[in-house]
Symmetry: C2
Subunit: 250 residues, 2 copies
Amino acid sequence: MRTLKLILAYDGTEYAGWQSQPHGFTLQDALESAIARITGGALRVTASGRTDAGVHALGQVVSFITESRLSLDVLHRALNAHLPRDIVVLSVDEVREGFHAIRDAKRKRYRYVIQDGPIGDVFRRRFAWHVFAHLHVAAMQRAAQSLVGTHDFCSFQSAGADRETTVRTLFEISLERGRGAGEEDVITLEIEADGFLYNMVRTIVGTLVQVGRGTQPESWPGEVLRALDRRAAGQTAPPHGLFLVDVKYE
Amino acid sequence: MRTLKLILAYDGTEYAGWQSQPHGFTLQDALESAIARITGGALRVTASGRTDAGVHALGQVVSFITESRLSLDVLHRALNAHLPRDIVVLSVDEVREGFHAIRDAKRKRYRYVIQDGPIGDVFRRRFAWHVFAHLHVAAMQRAAQSLVGTHDFCSFQSAGADRETTVRTLFEISLERGRGAGEEDVITLEIEADGFLYNMVRTIVGTLVQVGRGTQPESWPGEVLRALDRRAAGQTAPPHGLFLVDVKYE
């Protein structure tokens, strides 16, 4: 028996999210079905976290236990040959027995992409939230810094989630407008924490966008944080601008 | 009666090409149907050229004649409200009577995007040709220069096309590997000419890729040109890496 760790990238547009569920085809279904076809055994995989319908990943981490004796390289190529074209395995490694993709995760990094301006970019529409207003990114960047540190983030958690604690440590949050040719209307937010509450990144983005529009002052996200009340925050940004960038372990 | 000129961008993935045809929904169908709903009159539009199924545009030019008295700004916003999300009107202008988007075009510019390396990028798969081999871009760039100038390009025309002359003037062709973060595996070809034969860009790309793989020498594209025979050229690159960038008029 070996414990394997995969790093995956996927375009989540066509999936009903990561986790298997009664209705809709999920990323987990696609991966488990590809592994079953290659190794001949049904199994369950564990991901570092669920991503919602429409959310993408540049570096989702998945672990599973297998009896297969295929070499890592053969397994890697076979997986990419069997997976749908919107899912790709970036690496396959053998890890210590007992490695667990959720429990052992120390930090996660997400990216959220916004495209602003009056005309939506057809080539980014699956991968960026189109906001008609021109956003004031420097104000958003300053406002976001009040969230850095260890705080109770329950104001930025969607209702219905049930976590033991809503305290998380946010190590870094940054927003930047693209500088390359054709990227002047692309705003990228990067955020890293020891964990995220349900819809936390999307609620932070929705809140910061109100600062960027000028409808709320720069001090507002800090006030929302201190309110400890989801009703204080802005809208939840749509899923299709969100990417799980990577997951850090020991 | 006014003659209007639109500039459009579109993601061609879901369409059976530009031109209306008996089977399949086309970009022309989508545009004409949106215009008809707004102006209340059925009409035909003329594009600077047809794009094939799967080909994209950053700046397709379309002209049509209308009795509508709507202001250009209202028409612009109404079109974008009525068009599917993968088509966007970038500008609407009134032009002189008699303007014709095909006949009056003086130059066209296309872009072709390749992604190379062993693992396909899921986020570029609709917009780039994935080539497994690592391509030698400097060799492709040097080889491409033999095509610049006024030549008979019949070696680079797909069979079945029927043009009066196969002589065209190629003003510029350049290939460059991306320099930004995460763009190291993206190769962009830009090509500008006074006109293009059917599948000419895609056949040039397929030919240059053989040089980039090292299976043909740098002198080969020039030899293909001089052979005046389509069978001398390389494969036709797939449509989904191709973008009509812009069309220049007087």
